[in-house]
């Protein structure tokens, strides 16, 4: 029997980026907020120690800070004819664990999506006709770029995002991305210093007629005091960013931007190592009553709350909706139902690896977002009328790290071991650069999430099942962008070069990206979306669901900026409207 606890105004599941933002906003609004976090407490001073953080084996290879499959695994298959099997280790993507969540170990690539990304279906239909997108299940977000521009701005000033604006109040700015949505002001900090590889890419891209610019970085370029008064240090280009905690207070994370303020508040409480089992609904199924959770001693508690906000990683939020019976599960055979719908990912491949004799890149000098990009082939910036796909990719080059267990390319044809391998490794390390393409991932009817019928977690609950393969549209897109990348790469005259290619058969083993989206998507129609434009469940109005699970399909660039902008957007709606008049914010 679960022990019943005193109620709280707000119960948050998961204290990563979105949980921290919601807790900060709603405690400021005067509410009593409780966060339940299944992982441990983590902070910079004690957990991301500068003396031993540069440990590739521990953090990057053995994945010390990540969610361990023993705690929660998922199953996967490429299509419905296959039997899903558990990912016994996480590989293709790496969900976070503990306070800060994936916000601890992200790269800090702090993007906004383009205005057309939010109106994907209606924009593409207007421009090319409905037939062009018939093989896809595209949807509009129900919110526009202009509506959430100020939320992006809030997040960037929280993070101290370092970059160069491309368009301010409609005016194109030299050196920025001219294709971005119009922003209200410049980034809070200037771009990071540019490494050699980025400067070569920038020159080649300009000569090719593109518009390269420094990628927006949440690794801050100079000392910064953020919008909550929290001080951050200057990025040192240490090369231990993604998969690591930052020991310099330079990477924006919940720890370096919000928690120092939040944790001191009397109306905020955090309980770590408390795993949410399910959300309990009132008998009518229209509102949530409480959350059942288990603490680290195995004791079960029932925590009542007036408002429940799911702030886990998107995939976990979707699983929690399934486990709690919130929303109608999606059926890929009929296309009906909403929970699990429009699962998308990020399309890779189409990148170039360039080998030189006469160029020295010092790849170990890096930062997670030390990158130059060009968006001439992103989204719908370019005309798709005569192309056999929709969507696009951000092409880029930079230096995130040169950690040698994971990163020591050798020229094509080199053996993988023995004397020849060693000679080639010694001669090549430090003389290689990459030009990559990160592509959009568009929804199809057959890619979706549900609960696995066979495999369970340590509490006996079904694992989440991912049914996904790269859609043909996205593969055509990525390989077309790859032909552009190849031309730019060849113009740099490398001694040798290899080209990646996008192909079917999503594989869970090699790392690709932790950009899983969809499954609890937002929209204007309760028949095709699980949450409304404020991320409020259509069916259970006191449950809000944060995260990239809300994206109807994924754009080409990294999702965190948009995840957090939507968190501010939802927090404002709760603060300004929901508290005064609890209930659906949008009529169903």
């Amino acid at each position: 029997m679960a022990r019943l606890l005193p109620r709280k105004d707000v119960v948050i599941m998961g204290l990563g980026w979105t949980g921290s933002i919601l807790a900060q906003e709603l405690t400021t609004a005067g509410l009593e907020v409780l966060a339940l976090e299944r992982g441990p407490w983590r902070d910079t001073a004690s957990d991301f120690n500068i003396g031993y953080m540069p440990d590739e084996l521990r953090y990057a290879i053995r994945k010390d800070l990540f969610l361990q499959p023993a705690q929660e695994a998922m199953t996967m298959r490429n299509n419905r004819t296959q039997t899903a099997l558990p990912m016994r280790d996480y590989g293709s993507f790496l969900p976070g664990a503990g306070v800060g969540g994936a916000g601890v170990h992200w790269n800090g690539q702090c993007w906004r999506y383009a205005p057309t990304d939010f109106e994907c279906k209606s924009h593409l239909t207007r421009r090319y006709g409905a037939r062009k997108i018939a093989e896809l299940q595209l949807q509009d977000w129900g919110v526009t770029f202009d509506e959430i521009e100020h939320c992006y701005d809030r997040y960037e000033y929280l993070c101290g995002t370092s970059g160069k604006a491309g368009v301010i109040k409609g005016v194109v700015q030299p050196g920025g991305n001219p294709f971005e949505g119009s922003r209200s002001r410049e980034y809070p900090n200037p771009p990071l210093k540019m490494p050699y590889s980025s400067s070569l890419f920038t020159k080649a891209a300009l000569e090719y007629g593109l518009h390269p610019f420094p990628s927006p970085s949440a690794n801050v370029s100079r000392p910064y005091v953020n919008s909550l008064g929290v001080a951050m240090g200057e990025c040192t280009y240490c090369g231990y960013c993604e998969r690591f905690g930052c020991a310099n207070y330079s990477k924006s994370t919940p720890q370096t931007t919000i928690l120092p303020v939040l944790i001191k508040k009397r109306n905020f409480e955090l309980r770590t190592e408390c795993e949410v089992m399910k959300i309990n609904l009132h008998p009518d199924g229209k509102s949530a009553k409480s959350i059942t959770y288990v603490d680290a001693t195995g004791t079960e508690y029932e925590q009542p709350g007036d408002l429940v906000i799911l702030c886990g990683y998107g995939l976990m939020n979707v699983r929690m909706m399934f486990l709690s019976g919130i929303g109608k599960p999606y059926d890929p055979r009929t296309g009906d139902g909403v929970v699990g719908r429009n699962y998308c990912y990020q399309t890779g491949g189409g990148g170039a690896t360039l080998f030189f004799d006469d160029k020295r890149f010092n790849p170990f000098m890096g930062a997670g977002a030390l990158i130059s990009a060009a968006h001439d082939f992103n989204g719908d910036v370019f005309d798709h009328s005569n192309l056999d796909f929709v969507g696009g990719a951000s092409i880029s080059s930079g230096q995130t790290n040169g950690r040698p267990i994971g990163s020591r390319p050798t020229p094509p044809g080199t053996p993988r071991w023995g004397s020849q391998w060693k000679a080639a490794t010694a001669a090549t390390y430090g003389h290689v650069m990459n030009i990559g393409g990160s592509g959009s991932s568009y929804a199809t009817r057959g890619n979706y999430l549900d609960l696995d019928p066979t495999y369970t977690d340590s509490h006996g609950r079904p694992l989440l099942r991912i049914t996904f393969d790269f859609p043909d549209n996205d593969i055509r897109m990525q390989n077309w962008v790859g032909t552009q990348v190849e031309k730019i790469a060849r113009s740099l005259n490398p001694k040798a070069m290899t080209m990646g290619k996008a192909s079917k058969g999503w594989n869970v083993v090699p790392y690709q990206s932790t950009h899983n989206t969809g499954g609890a998507i937002m929209g204007a129609d309760p028949k095709t979306s699980a949450v409304n434009r404020y991320l409020q469940c259509w069916d259970v109005s006191n449950v809000f669901v944060m995260g990239a699970s809300a994206f109807p399909q994924n754009a080409a660039v990294n999702p965190t900026g948009t995840v957090c902008a939507l968190a501010y957007w939802a927090a404002e709606a709760i603060r300004d409207r929901y508290i005064k008049h609890p209930g659906p914010l949008v009529p169903a």
Binding site: R3, L4, P6, R7, A29, G30, L31, E32, P40, N49, G51, Y52, M53, P54, D55, E56, L57, I61, D64, Q68, P69, A70, A73, T83, R88, D89, G91, K193, Y196, S199, C235, T236, Y237, C238, G245, N248, E269, E273, V294, A296, T297, G298, D306, R360, N362, F364, G402, P404, I405, G418, K422, A423, A426, Y429, T456, G505, W506, V508, V509, K580
Partner: protein
């Protein structure tokens, strides 16, 4: 504020059981009862350098074989010491004796079913079990095909022939469901490279041999003065977590 307070009190539940003592400290909230401990957090702990003496997992015959294998993967020459002298077998031994070897962090529940290549490893054996079985079958194979000799007693050409046979799939050792000979080869190669390029505190990369070879500065943490000095060598040698420098 008043609206917020109204909201706070709106649906107050009076039936409160005796309050348990709740703690947010993971140091006090570690032990679990009734369910399998899912995850032992130790992110806050400093790493412990391995004891360089002795063997924790590998048996003497396995040690001889493993040392010969890592020395063919990474032969000693003017560029660096070989895999054996760099400590790669010691590294593998310690990894197999620890949480990597036992898969303690992975999902190890059944049923175990044959998977597709896109689904990753689906066998039942832990890495420790895979090494134990793989090394035994490999020893049998070598004795059968090389006149009763052990792997370590073969000449370099023969050793390379065996390893290349595993890599290409030409040698099929009949290991276990979900665990092919090629997978065994890949596991050994991956772990050998991990040992060679990891921080020396784990037993491999002795004297930072690999870092010196490729010019990787190791555990340094600040390149602000160098990142925009393009196409120039970095002037400093490597350092390790426990303070070795070269």
């Amino acid at each position: 504020m008043s609206a917020a307070l109204t909201f706070c009190r709106r649906r107050f539940l009076a039936s409160v059981a005796a309050l348990p003592v709740l703690t947010a400290s993971h140091a006090l909230a570690r032990s679990l009862s009734g369910i399998k401990p899912p995850f032992s957090p130790f992110a806050g702990d400093p790493p412990k350098p391995i004891n360089p003496l002795g063997w924790y997992f590998l048996r003497p015959a396995e040690v001889a074989m493993m040392e010969a294998i890592v020395d063919r993967f990474i032969p000693g020459d003017h560029l660096s010491p070989g895999g054996k002298d760099a400590g790669c077998a010691t590294f593998i031994d310690r990894q197999l004796a620890g949480s990597f070897g036992t898969s303690s962090r992975l999902y190890t529940k059944g049923p175990f079913m044959p998977g597709l290549p896109t689904q990753g490893y689906q066998g039942e054996l832990t890495p420790a079990g895979r090494y134990r079985l793989g090394l035994a079958r490999l020893a049998d194979h070598v004795r059968t095909h090389y006149a009763g000799k052990d792997f370590a007693a073969l000449n370099h050409g023969q050793q390379d022939e065996v390893l290349a046979g595993l890599e290409s799939g030409k040698i099929e050792l009949k290991l276990a469901p979900g665990f092919s000979s090629r997978a065994f080869f890949e596991l050994m190669l991956q772990n050998t490279m991990e040992g060679f390029f990891a921080d020396p505190l784990y037993g491999g990369n002795r004297g930072m041999a690999s870092w010196k070879m490729i010019g990787f500065p190791g555990a340094r943490y600040d390149y602000r003065d160098y990142v925009d000095k393009h196409n120039q060598p970095y002037p400093h040698g490597p350092v390790s977590i426990y303070g070795e420098h070269a």
